[in-house]
């Protein structure tokens, strides 16, 4: 039997996500995928899955789930109040569950998005090489939509752990109410002489209207140069792009959009996207400029860290 979890209550926005759908952006398909890829990959590593296995991404409040078969699970990302049969359980470590267990994932205490990995990964059909849910396109995940009450989730082939695993606390990211995001200026930084100075010296607040499409910020107006065009000829968009619409309030785009006609003042490093993905409304955001060498060094460091975590976990 491959059925592993029955959804008793789904939470406000719980979706199946993997590392995303790549190679189809030229057809208008966004990548989608887990927004905090560090937490998502770590969750998989804890239960012994390949890093890219599909997990549940849970937003602010998690689901209540009835366990249908033996499995190892791990919770990472946002800190959420989690109870297994009414007893609190800790995140960033493996938990063995079995038929009849009741897993109740409640509200976040810090951060915004939690991840739940299960032995063998969440098994849904691959669409265009990915299991990620793209809600607007109705593609991937569970019938292209968030989880609903009564859904039954299946898991793929996997092996139960021989002994419990945990990630040491030194490796666990903390979610603060203030974050500093490292950015590379561009692609349209030349449109914003004064605007760049504003962006790098101001504090912005995460707006409640943020979603998987993007994180909206409120703060000092980012002004374009007086001779800058009102819009650009639509061009492809990278996740992390900081778009500046006419009102001058920046939007950090995630991975649900393929092209756009607004100028982008700067782009958040991919290693810092997890930080903004975990920022709840009200979080204070600052931006710091880096150069390409620093950005790539941060990327290699992050990959190295995950490789070390994988190595360490496999020895537990």
């Amino acid at each position: 039997m491959t059925e592993v979890l029955l959804v008793l209550t789904p939470g406000p926005l719980t979706t199946v996500q993997d590392l995303g759908r790549y190679g189809y952006q030229h057809l208008g398909m966004p990548a989608s995928g887990a927004l905090d890829t560090f937490a998502m990959r770590a969750a998989n590593l804890i239960v012994g899955n390949p890093e890219k296995s599909a997990v549940l991404e849970m937003t602010v409040v998690g689901p209540h789930l009835a366990v249908m078969k033996r499995a190892d699970i791990a919770l990472t990302g946002a800190d959420m109040i989690v109870k297994l049969n009414s007893k609190p359980v800790a995140p960033w470590k493996s938990i063995q569950v079995g038929p009849g267990d009741l897993l109740s994932i409640q509200t976040v205490t810090s951060g915004c998005r939690g991840y739940l990995a299960v032995t063998g990964g969440i098994q849904v059909p691959e669409v265009m090489g990915s299991r990620s849910t793209y809600i607007d396109g109705g593609v991937g995940g569970l019938k292209g939509r968030p989880l609903l009450k009564g859904d039954i989730l299946e898991s793929g082939p996997g092996t139960l752990l021989k002994s419990p695993r945990r990630i040491p606390s030194a490796w666990i990211p903390h979610h603060d109410d203030r974050v500093t995001l490292h950015v590379l200026p561009g692609p349209q930084d030349a449109f914003f002489h004064q605007g760049l100075a504003t962006l790098f010296t101001s504090e912005y607040i995460v707006s409640p209207t943020s979603d998987r499409m993007g994180c909206r910020l409120q703060g000092p107006t980012v002004k374009p140069n007086s001779d800058a065009p009102a819009s650009i000829i639509s061009e492809p968009i990278m996740p992390g792009s900081i778009q500046v619409p006419a009102d001058g309030q920046p939007i950090i785009l995630f991975a649900e959009q393929t092209v756009g006609g607004y100028a982008k003042i700067a782009t958040v490093l991919s290693t810092d996207i997890p930080k903004i993905a975990q920022a709840v409304p009200g979080t204070r955001v600052r931006f710091r400029k880096v150069d390409l060498d620093e950005a790539h060094a941060a990327y290699r460091e992050q990959e190295g860290k995950l490789a070390q975590i994988a190595d360490m976990l496999s020895q537990q």
């Binding site: 790549y22 190679g23 189809y24 952006q25 030229h26 057809l27 208008g28 398909m29 059909p125 669409v127 265009m128 607007d136 396109g137 109705g138 593609v139 991937g140 590379l184 200026p185 561009g186 692609p187 349209q188 000829i233 639509s234 061009e235 492809p236 990278m238 996740p239 992390g240 792009s241 393929t258 092209v259 982008k264 782009t267 958040v268 490093l269 991919s270 290693t271 390409l292 950005a295 790539h296 941060a298 990327y299 290699r300 990959e303």
Partner: protein
């Protein structure tokens, strides 16, 4: 078109390569040629190549390459373009039922340009369009070549939901909504064809650089085709 491509940094994994600063046939031709050339000859470390009106986004793995190496590889490839065989663009015929419930804004387009709705349909279906770019939503083709007498501004307030298959006009562009989505284009007709089929490979048959021609069909032909598509 620029004499030499402009390279712009798009984050730690993206490099935008821009071939011109305006929507022009020769710029799009260059984008298409480079996209096709990159298909089999991409420099190492390239994850994805995304063409648009004037530029190509090259998504790369920073562990394997960097913009400096990519610029070199892309410039060399551009010089080799004359020797690379680029297949001719394909033409796709899309049946459209114009006006009525399928094209609720056809009267607006007609009034704006002092035409009858019939003339709008006839003119729209009289030319072949170039797919400048596919994006906004899965399979949405941004089409260039709309006759000037059909140019009409976008809706003042976008619709929260545009039905799948709707054909619209926004200023000098026309396009098709392959999935239901919000949208602000003036809707003049609808195709019964399912243009985006996620479980099919490829999920969308046309590419940027291909061409589209519209064929007017009656409401009964629309319904018949729609039923065929559903099975």
């Amino acid at each position: 078109m620029y004499a030499t491509a402009k390279f712009r940094i798009a984050g730690d994994c993206g490099l935008l390569v821009e071939y011109g600063g305006s929507i022009a046939h020769e710029v799009n031709q260059k984008v298409r040629s480079m996209t096709l050339a990159l298909k089999g000859n991409a420099p190492g470390g390239v994850r994805e190549v995304v063409p648009s009106y004037c530029s190509i986004l090259v998504v790369y793995d920073p562990v394997k390459t960097n913009p400096h190496a990519l610029k070199k590889g892309l410039t060399t490839l551009e010089q080799q373009l004359p020797e690379i065989e680029i297949p001719p663009p394909r033409v796709f015929e899309i049946p459209v039922c114009y006006g009525g419930e399928y094209g609720p804004d056809i009267d607006v387009v007609a009034r704006t340009n002092q035409l009858t709705p019939e003339q709008v349909a006839q003119t729209h279906a009289s030319v072949e369009y170039l797919i400048h770019m596919v994006g906004f939503s899965p399979g949405f083709p941004f089409l260039g070549g709309l006759p000037e007498i059909l140019h009409t501004p976008r809706l003042a307030t976008p619709r929260t939901s545009v039905p799948r298959g709707s054909v619209g006009i926004a200023n000098d562009q026309t396009g098709i909504y392959p999935v239901s989505s919000p949208g602000g284009w003036q809707l003049i007709g609808r195709t019964p064809l399912r243009l985006f089929i996620p479980e099919q490979a490829p999920p969308i048959r046309y590419r940027s650089g291909d061409r589209i021609r519209f064929k007017p069909i009656s409401a009964s032909a629309y319904e018949k085709l729609r039923q065929e598509e559903a099975t």
